[in-house]
């Protein structure tokens, strides 16, 4: 059974929800990403999402744009992130998902990306600029390598597309909480809970929500409606601010605080 599917099944049995933290790989360097990933896995993360740096991240807000730029300044590209996944896989069984834009994968080769990802223990890909209409070549390559393609659904999608996305996605469906780009927000849309209920009724797969979620309070408020919560920019902001052991501890504590409201009662 795939690692992602197993995690959702085990959490469900325990009455827990998944915490899915995101950091950009190579921000500020690969050694820090490795240390952060292992710390997050130890402190309550259930699935890890690693961003692949890209020059033109058009679905991302300023926080993740800056992280992508810092990683690129260190020369980090797709192959480095795949290698990093391999190092992490040697030390942890936590599911690893890469979030990256399509062009670097296209240039590396879709089959080559999928095959190397599988060899290095990557479980899935989220590709924000690859809607289902354009995804067939990648889905074929990913399926061959047994890599999950995780689709995003948005508040603009509408029932028909959500149903299709729920049918095509593997692992879980990633619901984008806001009509907008990534980035920590102090307030989430007031109708988010209602939207999540609607989506839940339309799809059979596990459902995770992300974009803009930055505090344990927000996580607690959303937990009843989903199977998992993605937190990205709020962690990346800490990576931008701190260094060394102080950073590792701060992120570890933050992960523990975010996970607390997701644990079973």
């Amino acid at each position: 059974m795939r690692r992602i599917d197993r995690v959702f099944k085990q959490l469900k049995a325990k009455g827990e929800k998944a915490l899915i933290p995101f950091i950009t790989a190579g921000d500020p360097d690969l050694a820090t990403t490795r240390a952060l990933a292992l710390e997050m896995a130890a402190r309550g993360a259930d699935i890890l999402e690693l961003g692949v740096p890209f020059s033109d991240p058009l679905a991302d807000g300023p926080t993740i744009q800056a992280a992508s730029l810092r990683a690129m300044q260190g020369g980090v590209h797709l192959e480095d992130v795949l290698n990093l996944a391999g190092e992490l896989r040697a030390q942890t069984q936590i599911p690893l998902i890469l979030m990256g834009y399509y062009n670097p994968m296209l240039q590396y080769g879709l089959e080559r990306t999928a095959a190397k990802a599988a060899d290095n223990g990557v479980d899935g890909f989220i590709i924000p600029d690859l809607p289902p209409e354009e995804a067939s070549p990648w889905r074929v390559a990913a399926a061959k390598a047994k890599i999950a393609t995780i689709f995003l659904a948005a508040p603009t999608s509408g029932a028909e597309r959500v149903r299709t996305l729920g049918r095509l996605t593997k692992g879980f469906l990633y619901y984008v909480s806001v009509t907008g780009i990534t980035g920590a927000r102090t307030e989430l849309p007031p109708d988010l809970a209602a939207s999540l209920k609607e989506v839940r009724a339309l799809v059979k797969c596990p459902l995770a929500v992300g974009f803009g979620i930055s505090t344990p309070e927000q996580v607690a408020a959303l937990a009843p409606y989903v199977d998992g919560v993605v937190v990205g920019s709020a962690i990346v902001q800490r990576v931008a601010r701190l260094r060394g052991p102080e950073l590792i501890k701060e992120v570890g504590d933050f992960i523990a605080a975010l996970k607390a409201p997701l644990r079973g009662k």
Binding site: P53, F54, S55, D56, L58, A59, G61, Q65, M72, H77, L78, E79, Y102, N103, P104, M105, L106, Q107, Y108, P128, D129, L130, P131, E133, E134, F151, L152, A153, A154, P155, T156, S157, G158, R161, L165, V176, T179, G180, I181
Partner: protein, 397 residues
């Protein structure tokens, strides 16, 4: 005619965008197909094109330039005489009228040279829509005149600080804005690039250039031209000229910006020297490193300073329907001077690339042949940059 129902021109094109935008692109395509052929829309658009934009623009026989170059008869399609000073208004007017019928209340756009920004701001003022224009800070510096024009027209110019601070980065931020405000905002994309249906919509609204030129030349000479020449950044003025001749035995030449030279790191010659990949929603040629990161483009002409190109041009290139060449900053400056001095017309630096290439093209033709060059915009916006560049080259000697 292409694109197919997936928005593809052969292997090029498509819709590589975040899910949030997919419904908006589908809605736009549906609205465009439903509205653009209706008599009401066509009447409204042609009324504005005639009485507001001043179309048809002249097809001018450039006698002195023809004599100077000693080759074919050169006709200039005077898009510089369209309202706002460039061909961009053909598209922004069409999209503005479409957006209004779709119930959108706000227009956004990216701009490089500022011509598309000015044209969008103009249409927003005309139609009573609010308007934000994304522009790289490097271009704001280079094209101050157009920034002032946009402000005077009531648009807000949003400075973009990321990347190379030019057109590519402005487009990233315009797309990010659209992702956020898609429900009430229409994104007026300015070239034949980006995700489907934009390359088709922009081509169709710009096709008036070639339709007029073809009819004007036939009326005057009874002939077709041997060759069409236009500059290519994203490629809208070139596609607008080429489209009406696509089934005729007429040669198409697209002139890209070679900047400091296509063998340097400082050029914008996407079709001449690029490789295929995905940027800004479309599969096409682009400038990228081996890892798929987009490279910064360079051109003295801000409207050509873009590392991508419209997918239909990519298809034309592969099919051999059009040929694509590149001229350097220095050649473009000499093209600027050539047209200014022979014909008394200051071309936009972008269009000066097409003029410059005529020098290389002329020896291939005789006085019986006809070449039409698209003068996509006027050069007032560029006089500071040209003066600066000339001084620099004077000091170098």
């Amino acid at each position: 005619m292409l694109p197919d129902r997936h928005g593809r021109y052969g292997r090029y094109g498509g819709r590589f965008v975040p899910e949030t935008l997919m419904p908006a692109l589908l809605e736009l395509e549906e609205a465009y197909r439903r509205i653009h052929r209706t008599p009401e829309f066509r009447q409204e658009l042609s009324w504005y094109l005639k009485d507001y934009v001043g179309r048809p623009t002249p097809l001018y026989f450039a006698r002195h330039l023809t004599a100077e170059l000693g080759g074919p008869q050169i006709y200039i399609k005077r898009e510089d005489l369209a309202h706002t000073g460039a061909h961009k208004i053909n598209n922004t007017l069409g999209q503005g009228l479409l957006a209004r019928r779709m119930g959108k209340t706000r227009l956004i756009a990216e701009t490089g040279a500022g011509q598309h920004g000015v044209a969008t701001a103009t249409v927003a003022a005309l139609l009573g829509l609010s308007c934000d224009i994304y522009m790289g800070t490097e271009d704001i510096r280079r094209q101050r005149l157009n920034v002032i024009r946009m402000n005077l027209l009531g648009a807000k110019v949003v400075p973009v600080e990321s990347g190379s601070r030019t057109l590519k980065d402005a487009m990233n931020d315009a797309i990010r804005d659209w992702v956020t405000n898609v429900r009430h905002t229409h994104y007026v994309l300015g070239s034949v690039g980006g995700p489907h249906p934009y390359p088709m919509i922009v081509r169709d609204f710009q096709a008036v250039i070639g339709q007029e030129a073809r009819a004007q030349l036939r009326r005057r000479t009874g002939k077709l031209p041997q060759c069409l020449v236009a500059c290519v950044g994203g490629g809208s003025n070139a596609m607008g000229l080429f489209n009406a001749f696509r089934d005729d035995p007429v040669r198409f030449v697209g002139v890209e910006a070679a900047g400091h030279g296509v063998h340097t790191q400082h050029h914008s010659a996407t079709l001449v020297a690029g490789t295929v990949g995905v940027l800004h929603g479309a599969f096409s040629y682009l400038l990228q490193d081996p890892w798929g990161n987009i490279q910064e483009a360079h051109s003295l002409a801000p409207g050509l300073d873009y590392p991508g190109v419209g997918p239909e041009h990519a298809w034309f290139k592969d099919k051999g329907r059009a040929e694509y060449v590149a001229v350097t900053d220095t050649e473009a400056l000499s093209g600027f001077n050539l047209l200014s001095r022979t014909e008394g017309i200051l071309p936009a630096l972008e269009s000066a690339h097409a003029i410059a290439y005529l020098k290389r093209l002329a020896p291939e033709y005789t006085a019986d042949d006809i070449v039409i060059v698209n003068l996509s915009g006027r050069g007032d916006k560029d006089v500071d940059a040209v003066a600066e560049a000339m001084e620099v080259s004077v000091e170098a000697y």
